[in-house]
């Protein structure tokens, strides 16, 4: 079982790295969205610093939605998913591995590029530290909850807009707690409370969403 799951992770990573174009898309999108904001609201450092955490988080939400769309699409189309749901490996674990691979390939680059964007938006070192902590705890939550939404829309034509309608309302608590942590850091206050809540939400999602996602995949396969 362990060997099967390891092989699965290897497969996912290999597939992701062989489609370098698709791998880069969310990253480029992320940088572009963020560089639009100084142009839109004006280059004043104070304004940018104030809206910075919110802008980065909204851009992360949108970029991860963009990268998420094809999480199950190809596997659904070529029948691999059907074979997987027949195999001895539980579909919940398969889902978990796929989400993990997606996080490593699509979301981790966003985190790695984030220092640059923090410079763009004039975030202070304290704010950046808080932002990074919320991103590390919050983005796996995004991927886990997102996978459920993606599973529900897999196999649908024009699932993209529907996916954002389904998922964005669910991400609101995360957005609120993450930006409030960074705001607290900007005022030199402690933000452990917000981090603890995001971590709690992450654990809840880790416990529940693989089952919901696996069920949703079984539903869309009919």
């Amino acid at each position: 079982m362990k060997a099967a799951l390891g092989a699965l992770l290897g497969r996912e990573l290999a597939l992701a790295f062989r489609q370098k174009g698709e791998l880069l898309q969310p990253l480029v999108f992320f940088i572009l969205v963020i560089s639009l904001f100084p142009l839109g609201v004006g280059p004043g450092p104070q304004t940018l610093q104030k809206i910075g955490p919110g802008v980065i988080w909204v851009a992360v939400l949108l970029a991860s939605l963009l990268g998420m769309e094809r999480l199950f699409r190809d596997d659904f189309n070529d029948g691999w998913l059907e074979q997987m749901s027949l195999s001895a490996v539980p579909l919940t674990l398969v889902v978990l591995i796929k989400v993990m691979a997606h996080w490593l390939t699509c979301v981790l680059p966003l985190l790695l590029i984030s220092p640059l964007l923090a410079l763009f938006l004039h975030l202070t070192a304290d704010m950046y530290k808080a932002l990074l902590m919320t991103l590390i705890l919050g983005t796996p939550l995004l991927s886990l909850v997102g996978a459920t939404g993606v599973a529900l829309t897999t196999g649908l034509q024009r699932g993209g807009v529907l996916l954002s309608l389904l998922l964005l309302p669910l991400f609101i608590p995360l957005l609120i707690f993450a930006t409030s942590a960074v705001d607290a850091a900007a005022l030199q206050l402690s933000y452990n409370g917000q981090l603890a809540i995001i971590a709690a939400l992450l654990l809840l999602a880790l416990a529940l969403t693989p089952f919901a996602t696996a069920y949703a995949l079984r539903v869309v396969q009919g």
Binding site: L162, L165, L168, P169, L208, V219
Partner: protein
């Protein structure tokens, strides 16, 4: 209870139950809603501070309460559908969602119309307003997901999963926006003991809530019947029913 419920997994029995319930629900809804609204709008005393404009409470509060109540009804139907794999329960999810969405919209709209004279603004990013808006998005998500499946059986199940994901998230969303920002007044009538509203204003409000609840139930039951007929169009009982209604009409 299971013994009592399980016949209604069959669509024909469910349809018959609805046909029996519908006249009672709709007549009592019309009577109670008319009484409550007329009493509230015309005879209840005006508020000492807000004057007559407080009377929108008789529409705003019932629709706000029921927008959440209807969501829980939808979630219960979704849970029943997922756990016992009842086809009729997933049809109920699809039938209930638009009713709830309309109630949520009414609550938001009347809230905006009430906010303008009282707070001086149509909209504020207050906790309750925001969570009501998110509730509307959740309803729209469930409806859009259901609509986008060609196979309505699949669509019903998928919408059910979405409704349940929403129900887990609703308290989280509610508390997060509560901590985030709040301007809305506290609950007026859920306080046990002494409600902070005069009894002559409270009674018509309670009537309105009950009336609107019955009206939502009647609308859901009616929509559920249409859903049953649309989904089971190839069954003999639906065709017999359609012939009967046609001959009644002629």
């Amino acid at each position: 209870m299971w013994k009592w419920l399980h016949p209604y997994a069959k669509s024909e029995k469910a349809f018959e139950l609805c046909a029996r319930l519908l006249p009672w629900l709709s007549i009592s809804a019309i009577v109670i809603l008319a009484t409550g609204t007329l009493w509230g709008l015309m005879f209840a005393p005006a508020d000492y501070q807000q004057g007559d404009s407080f009377r929108i409470i008789y529409i705003h509060v019932p629709s706000a309460i029921l927008s959440m109540g209807v969501y829980s009804a939808m979630a219960v139907a979704a849970l029943v559908g997922l756990v016992w794999q009842l086809r009729t329960a997933t049809m109920a999810v699809a039938a209930i969602a638009p009713v709830g969405a309309v109630l949520t919209f009414i609550a938001l709209f009347t809230g905006a119309a009430w906010g303008k004279p009282m707070w001086g603004t149509w909209w504020v990013w207050d906790a309750r307003l925001t969570s009501e808006l998110i509730l509307l998005f959740l309803y729209l998500g469930v409806m859009a997901l259901y609509q986008s499946f060609d196979d309505k059986q699949q669509g019903g199940k998928a919408a059910g999963v979405m409704a349940l994901v929403g129900v887990v998230n609703l308290p989280i969303i509610h508390f997060s926006v509560e901590w985030w920002n709040t301007l809305h007044q506290g609950a007026t009538i859920t306080k046990f003991g002494k409600p902070s509203i005069a009894p002559e204003m409270l009674w018509p409000l309670l009537l309105c809530i009950l009336g609107l609840a019955l009206a939502s139930a009647a609308l859901s039951v009616y929509r559920f019947q249409s859903e049953l007929m649309r989904r089971e169009i190839h069954r003999p009982w639906v065709q017999a029913q359609a012939r009967k209604e046609h001959s009644d009409a002629v």
